[in-house]
Structure formats: C-alpha cells, structure tokens
C-alpha cells in the first residue's frame, strides 16, 4: 500500500499507519542492555522494599505544579486531535486506502483517541448497562443503535467483558462491520482489547489504523507544539544537570547543544504519547541544580518562557508490588483489556471475590499503578504506572498488546 502513511501534522507526528508498520522507537544496544538489567533489578527489588513502589523524585528541586505545569505541559486538545484524525482518514479515502464504511483506529492506552472521537460531530454510542447478553439480545441492541445515521464508538473495550456471556455484543458488531452492515462509523479500540479479539477471532481483519509511535524527534516536535502552539510564545526547556536543551525543537540554523532526553523518553514510553506526557510533566522543574549556569549569551539566543528538566535517572517510576499470588496481575490485565472496570465488572472478569478485589485495588492505588475515576467509579491503570505494568504482565506470561 503506497498510501499507508498520510501527511504529517505537528499534533499527530508520523500520522496514521497500519498496525504492521508500528515499531518501537530505536535505541542503542547499550541502553537496551542497561534497561534490561534495570528491569531485572526492579523485579528483585520489588520484593525487598515494597514501600518504595510509588513514583519518587530523587532530586530536591521544586517541581512545576498547577498553572505553571499546564502552561509548559498542557493536556492535548482532544478536538484538535479529532480534526486531524478525520482529515487523515479523509485523505486515506481519497487515496483509495479506506474502502470500508467503518473506520477503525487501534491505539495503545493514553493515546487520546477515545477523547478525540467523543468530540466528533457524530452520534456517540455508549455501552449498555448490562454487557452480559445473549446472541439474540445483542443483535437487537445493535439494530437499535446503528440505525440512526453516522456514529462513533470512542472506546470499543467498553462494550465487552471477559466472561463467557460477555462476548456476544462485540462478536455481533464485528460480524456486521465485516459484512458492511453497520452503517457509517468510526471506532476507537484499545490495543489490549484488539489483541484479545485478534486471538479470539484469527480471521478478524478490519484494516485498522494506528497512530505512529513517537520517536525522540517527533516527541520533541509534539511537546513543543503542545506548549507553544503555533509558536506565539516559545518555550525553552533545559536539563537541570548540564543545561543541554530539550525544547524548543531544533532548527537547521541553530547551534544550541541538545540533550538525548527526548530520545530516552520516547524509548521509555515505547512511543506512547500519553505515557511520555505523564513522565514529562513529572520531570519539569522550576530551577536548575546551579542557578548561575544560565549565561547572558544563551538567554539572548532563546527568548520566551523557560523551565528545567530533571534527568530520567532522577525519577523512580511506580513498580508492581511483589506478590505471592496472581491477583494484582489479574486485576491489572483485566483493567487494560477493558480500559477500566468497576469492582462488579472486575469480579466477573477475573473470577475473584469482591473483598479480595478491594484489598488488591487498595494496594495498587497506593503504588500509583491504578487510579479511580470518582465520577464513574471506574478503576484504570495510570499512565505513569503503565510501563511497569506492561513489563510485569509480559514477564508473567500474560497476553500483552503489540504496542
């Protein structure tokens, strides 16, 4: 397919790509080996010092918070991402790549796709209260939902439950999409949910697209665009330790010395923009290690707002608690498969008793691996905890997503 990758946009660097084009950001062999050793040490350490599971900053520099944090590392604009996504799908259609009536975006957690699809000027379908349905009930439910014009499903993972009676709704939808009997729609699907259904139905082929993973360079452009917009007020970010530049994005005529921070951050986050942003927010500092570092000459070179960035080795990200049993991993895996669940749904999906779920959730929340959405009472894996959770699940043999 010559038209697999569509035009680049600063808000969606790399554009939309097919799933087989996705690959993790490149890193050096030395850093890979160091990372592998660190993972093993983390696993061993988890059993020794369980009280040190949550996020920790190992420096004493003041962190940015509140308005200043929103100024330098704001949350992405979902409406803008939605517009870019629609533009890119339109271009794919013009190029003859999108031949289905239902467009499918598979993306890893925290990619911002569900939030973007909720901003579309389409009818947003929400899941039924009871996900345990018979085949007949599922058919009738979709008949009602799909009959009213263009629609969007922000997160397909909300429409099923890993339970023998919780699969019918999605099975029915996939059959309709495959036969083009579902009308005109746009579906966002978590990569974990997609992975399960690809294994459950190996014949499933809905030609999904995904967001390109952010390389170090693309991450720099994206963070720069988030903070500076179209460039009215440039943001400068420099390393606290050596003063090397992280932002703004380097220009061709620039003679500034840049840090490899964004490359390392992209590798750590596996190109996942949501995870990268969460870590980025925790690295921002109000001042450097030595205040006298900033020379007058450099201040002239880069004008605008300025903040400082702590090195990644000064952060200790949350780690999965060592446990004799499988319960924490079962819960974490179920939360990722369904993009968040409440305790009743967790009991159905994991087969665990509610008191056990409550105890385990409490432990996971204290470790900052899981957060609770107060409004919906749904528990979700946190973006800061996601790298550790994914590695832990993979090491323990769980099926993990391809991203």
């Amino acid at each position: 397919m010559a038209n697999d990758v569509v035009e680049d946009h600063p808000y969606l660097p790399g554009g939309l790509i097919t799933l087989d084009q996705w690959k993790t950001p490149e890193t050096s062999v030395q850093k890979s080996i160091r990372g592998a050793f660190r993972d093993i040490l983390d696993q061993l350490r988890a059993g020794i010092s369980p009280e040190e599971q949550a996020f920790q900053s190992l420096d004493d520099l003041p962190m940015l918070s509140g308005d200043r944090l929103r100024e330098f590392a704001p949350e992405p604009d979902a409406a803008l991402l939605a517009k870019v996504l629609v533009d890119q799908f339109d271009q794919l259609c013009r190029d003859g790549a999108g031949h289905r009536e239902v467009s499918f975006v598979v993306a890893p957690p925290f990619s911002g796709v569900p939030e973007a699809l909720r901003c579309l000027s389409r009818r947003v379908l929400t899941p039924p209260d009871n996900l345990l349905m018979t085949e007949q009930d599922a058919g009738r439910w979709w008949d009602e939902q799909l009959s009213g014009g263009d629609w969007a499903i922000p997160e397909l993972a909300d429409f099923w439950l890993r339970h023998p009676a919780g699969l019918n709704l999605l099975r029915e939808l996939f059959a309709r999409i495959a036969l083009d009997h579902a009308g005109n729609g746009m579906v966002g699907c978590s990569s974990w949910c997609w992975q399960f259904w690809r294994q459950y139905s190996p014949e499933l082929s809905l030609a999904p697209y995904t967001l390109a993973p952010l390389t170090g360079e693309q991450l720099t452009r994206w963070l720069d665009y988030l903070a500076s917009g179209d460039g009215e007020q440039q943001v400068t970010a420099r390393m606290t330790r050596d003063g090397l530049y992280v932002l703004p994005a380097p220009r061709q005529d620039s003679d500034l010395k840049y840090s490899s921070f964004n490359q390392d951050l992209a590798t750590l986050a596996r190109g996942n923009r949501g995870v990268a942003l969460a870590i980025w927010q925790r690295t921002l500092r109000a001042r450097p290690e030595k205040d006298d570092e900033d020379s007058g000459k450099e201040a002239v070179l880069v004008a605008g707002r300025r903040c400082w960035v702590a090195p990644l080795d000064q952060l200790s990200l949350p780690s999965v608690p060592a446990s004799a049993g499988r319960q924490p991993s079962h819960i974490l895996h179920a939360l990722l498969l369904h993009d968040g669940l409440n305790t009743e749904q967790l009991a159905l999906a994991t087969g665990m008793q509610k008191p056990d779920i409550a105890l385990t959730l409490d432990r996971l929340i204290r470790a900052e691996l899981v957060g609770r959405d107060q409004a919906s009472d749904v528990y979700r894996v946190t973006p800061l905890g996601y790298p550790a959770v994914r590695k832990n699940l993979q090491a323990r043999g769980y099926p993990v997503d391809g991203f």
């Binding site: 093993i40 696993q43 061993l44 059993g47 890993r162 339970h163 023998p164 919780g166 699969l167 399960f196 294994q199 459950y200 060592a322 499988r326 079962h330 895996h333 179920a334 999906a349 994991t350 087969g351 993979q394 090491a395 323990r396 043999g397 769980y398 099926p399």
Partner: protein, 267 residues
C-alpha cells in the same frame, strides 16, 4: 609394579599439599552450595523464561565447578605425568567399575543429562507413572516435586531404558487438558463453541497459544477435551480446576447434564 605404581605416584603428597587440596575442595563445595541456594532463590523472584534459564544454569555451573576443582586439585597432590594419570584413572576406573557400578552409571547419565537435556529444572516430566516438576538435578539423581507436594528422587540411570515424557521441554508453555463427560443428545457444535469461550475468558489462559476443544463419543457420554496453555506451568492444577468449574457452569446454564467418569466406566 605389583602396586600399579601407586607408591611412586602418591609419594610426593605432603601434609601441606593435602591441606591445600582440602581448602580447594571446601571452597568448591561452598561455591556449589551457594549456586544451589542463591540461583533458585533468585529465579523464584523472577517470572517467565528468565526463571527457567536461571534454573537450568544450576547443574551446568555445578559441573563447571567440579571439573575446575579436579583440574586444580590433581596437580596439587601428584605430579601430572602420563604415568601418574594412567595410575590414578586406572584405579578410579577399577573402583567405579566394581564397587560403585550403579553409582557410576548414574553419574555418567547425569553428565549426559546436562548435555542432552531431556529434562531441566522447571520442566514437568513423567517417569514411570510419576509426574512432577524437576526441582533440582544432582550429580546422581534428579528431584521432582509432584502436584501433591511430594519429592521423588529419580536416578539419572533410568534415562538409559525408561520412557520419559516432558510436558514443557525447557519452555514455559505447558498444554493442559480439562476433560468433561456430558450426557449425549445435546447440540454438540454449540457446546464446543461455548467451551471455547470458557477457555478464552479464563484469566489464566495464554490466549496467544492454541486453544482447541475436541469432542468424541464414548459408550455413554460425549467426551469433551478443553486444551489450552496456562500462564505458567506451575498453575496447571488451578487452571484445569478453573476451566472445569467454568465449563460446569455453562453446562448448568444450557441444561446439559455432566456424567462422571466412574459412571461411564461402570456402564
């Protein structure tokens, strides 16, 4: 030559040399003990393939230490000339051949085990009707722990003439089978489909490995076999129990009666 040259061979052994050799042997024993304690403890904290690799390295490291110890100790005690070596190994051969034939048999089989690797620590094997996880591979015998937590010592010499079944063969993929016997006269295709859902929705299933549900007719029942891989071989009992319980729920919901194996056999 009535004494096969032993007198000359061992005449150079002094008390200092003996002490030095003893120190080397003690050091090697301590090292072996550390390897046998620390590495399995370390492996216990890790999951997946890394655990299996670490466990498999224990017998290899022990063999390496033993060989290095012999290579170090022999020159300390005797001059490593051709005649001396012939005398020592000849005497060893005689002793092993007559007095410790079975023991030597197991020792040699133990070395073959390390080379051919018919089983490694972490493998689930069945030998002479005994099934369990290989806990350790000693110089003479391997120890397996059964599902009922009983340790069984299996001499390596059994390797020469015994059929050995290895369930996971050095990997962490162990196929398990949950077997159900159902009353005939039901919708077989639907039950197969529902049982497949049962396997996929069990949280202990490795969904990226094959999932197969087979059915065959016996005299009085339809026999279903749910074949899948658990997340870890050690969880096979829990996995099979979970699959059976979930499948029984499905049978109850569908109104299909389960038939116990004993009833089927008696009929």
């Amino acid at each position: 030559m009535g004494d096969f040259g032993f007198k000359e061979t061992f005449s150079s052994i002094t008390s200092d040399a003996l002490l030095e050799a003893l120190a080397v042997v003690i050091l090697a024993s301590v090292l072996i003990m550390l390897v046998q304690k620390l590495i399995p403890a370390l492996a216990g904290k890790l999951g997946g393939k890394l655990r299996l690799y670490l466990l498999a390295s224990v017998p290899l490291l022990r063999l390496l230490i033993i060989v290095l110890t012999i290579v170090t100790v022999v020159p300390i005690l005797v001059e490593p000339s051709f005649e001396n070596m012939v005398a020592i190994f000849g005497a060893l051969g005689l002793a092993l051949g007559f007095a410790f034939k079975d023991y030597a048999n197991s020792l040699i089989a133990g070395i073959v085990t390390l080379y051919e690797m018919p089983y490694r620590p972490g493998d689930w094997i069945e030998v002479n009707g005994r099934y369990g996880e290989v806990r350790s591979i000693g110089t003479r015998a391997a120890e397996i722990v059964t599902l009922d937590d009983t340790v069984i010592v299996i001499p390596h010499s059994l390797l020469w003439n015994t059929l050995l079944a290895n369930g996971n063969d050095g990997t962490d993929n162990l196929m398990c089978v949950a077997e159900l016997h159902l009353d005939p006269n039901h919708n077989v295709a639907r039950m197969q489909h529902l049982f497949r859902d049962v396997v996929f929705t069990c949280p202990l299933t490795k969904t990226y490995q094959p999932v197969v549900v087979t059915v065959s007719a016996t005299d009085d029942a339809m026999r279903y076999r749910l074949k899948a891989y658990p997340l870890e071989p050690r969880e096979q009992s829990r996995f099979i129990s979970d699959l059976t319980a979930r499948a029984a729920d499905v049978c109850a919901r569908e109104g299909v009666r389960m038939v116990s194996k004993r009833v089927t056999d008696a009929a």
